[in-house]
Symmetry: C2
Subunit: 203 residues, 2 copies
DNA sequence: CTGTTTATATACCGTTCAGTATAGAACAGA
DNA sequence: TCTGTTCTATACTGAACGGTATATAAACAG
């Protein structure tokens, strides 16, 4: 009997590791954007041929979405952790430092894949745009809920709205991504984080 | 005798208005980015043929730089005006509202052309990247000088650095551009502006 | 061993890309 | 009218794009 875990299949076994190939594809999309990444760029980085890519991942669009899944699972994990902080100021600080760490890593592309893709994705890749919008929407909602909770708890002053604080904080995070993409140093972004935390109106 | 101003040239006269064509090209680059704008997109919008474009503007890259010049002259004029405001808070408020007005105009593409181009411009268009970096550098320097003056005048508290405030404010402006590009409403951005001004630490 | 199934390698498909060669059309001066 | 100059229109170039047809190689079951 064959183990379910080893998952032995019938035909010729695959010669590459799907997860490794996907991680390589993620790095390509991350540094070049969806449309800027050509199939040649992708297959070169993944170390596989075009037919192998299509057999394993479907097409470029499906590969991108799987890469986005991996990105959110591995690189955006700090968001969920940050939102569980006790105060809104600490939430903001953890989100900002998390973004800082992630976007200025030495061994990874700069900036946020979502921001890069949203900006650089042309109108023709409509399905990709819609997918990015939906993913951003769920993050936005999570942050909004957390800010609303902060307001309910008296953590944020009454004259600021949860929605406004959410969009304000998101703007700083997205702006940091723009600066990271265009080569800002970790120290520069560190000062943005420090300033943002310093002026944060809540507890 | 022929007037110097009318500039009558020898051969067949040009059948299109160079300024109008450049304005049309600007709108294409603005909505699609440098690499996303194809020559077909450009010539269709400009109402001219490919050889006419090359004769009048050189090539795609030169056309883009001329479009950037026009953009900065006509659409970023608010920056210089904002920097002459008396207090740092007013500077910030005018920069933010200027960006808001410009980036959410009904009859123009959303977001900031510089941000869009910086993010979506691949490594291959190296000269374009360098040009964008230089342009951003000069804006950054102007803002930094203004923030330094604010510090010298006691307008900003002593514990915040001019450089940090500059990068912080720039991040918000760039984040607003990201949000505008991805379809945020004017009201949403208005709240980002209001929040940013509300938490501004200076006079 | 023979089939069957799946993965790989190569070479190709039609389309679009930025850029251009060529020929004709519209002007000025002679 | 003739010539020189400059713009326009059409059609084209080689390269790159995303995606695939075809043939072969490597595993399994019988």
């Amino acid at each position: 009997m064959v183990s379910v875990l080893t998952k032995v299949c019938k035909g010729r076994p695959r010669e590459f590791d799907v997860d490794e190939a996907l991680a390589a594809a993620l790095r390509v999309f991350w540094s070049k954007g969806y449309e800027g990444a050509s199939l040649t760029d992708l297959t070169d980085a993944m170390g596989i041929t075009r037919p192998s890519l299509y057999a394993a991942f479907g097409n470029k669009e499906a590969l991108f979405k799987k890469a986005l899944d991996l990105y959110e699972r591995e690189k955006l994990a700090y968001i969920g952790e940050a939102l569980s902080a006790p105060t809104s100021r600490e939430v903001a600080e953890r989100l900002l430092t998390g973004a800082l760490e992630m976007q200025t890593s030495e061994c990874e592309p700069r900036g946020c894949l979502r921001v890069i893709s949203t900006i650089s994705c042309g109108q023709e890749a409509d399905s990709v745009r819609a997918d990015l919008m939906a993913r951003r929407g769920s993050s936005h909602r999570a942050m909004l809920d957390r800010m609303q909770r902060a307001k309910d708890e008296g953590d944020l002053p009454p004259h600021v709205e949860a929605e406004a604080m959410t969009n304000y904080l998101l703007a700083i995070l997205q702006g940091m991504s723009v600066q990271a993409s265009s080569g800002a140093s970790r120290e520069q972004l560190q000062e943005v984080v420090r300033t943002s935390v310093a002026v944060w109106p809540g507890k």
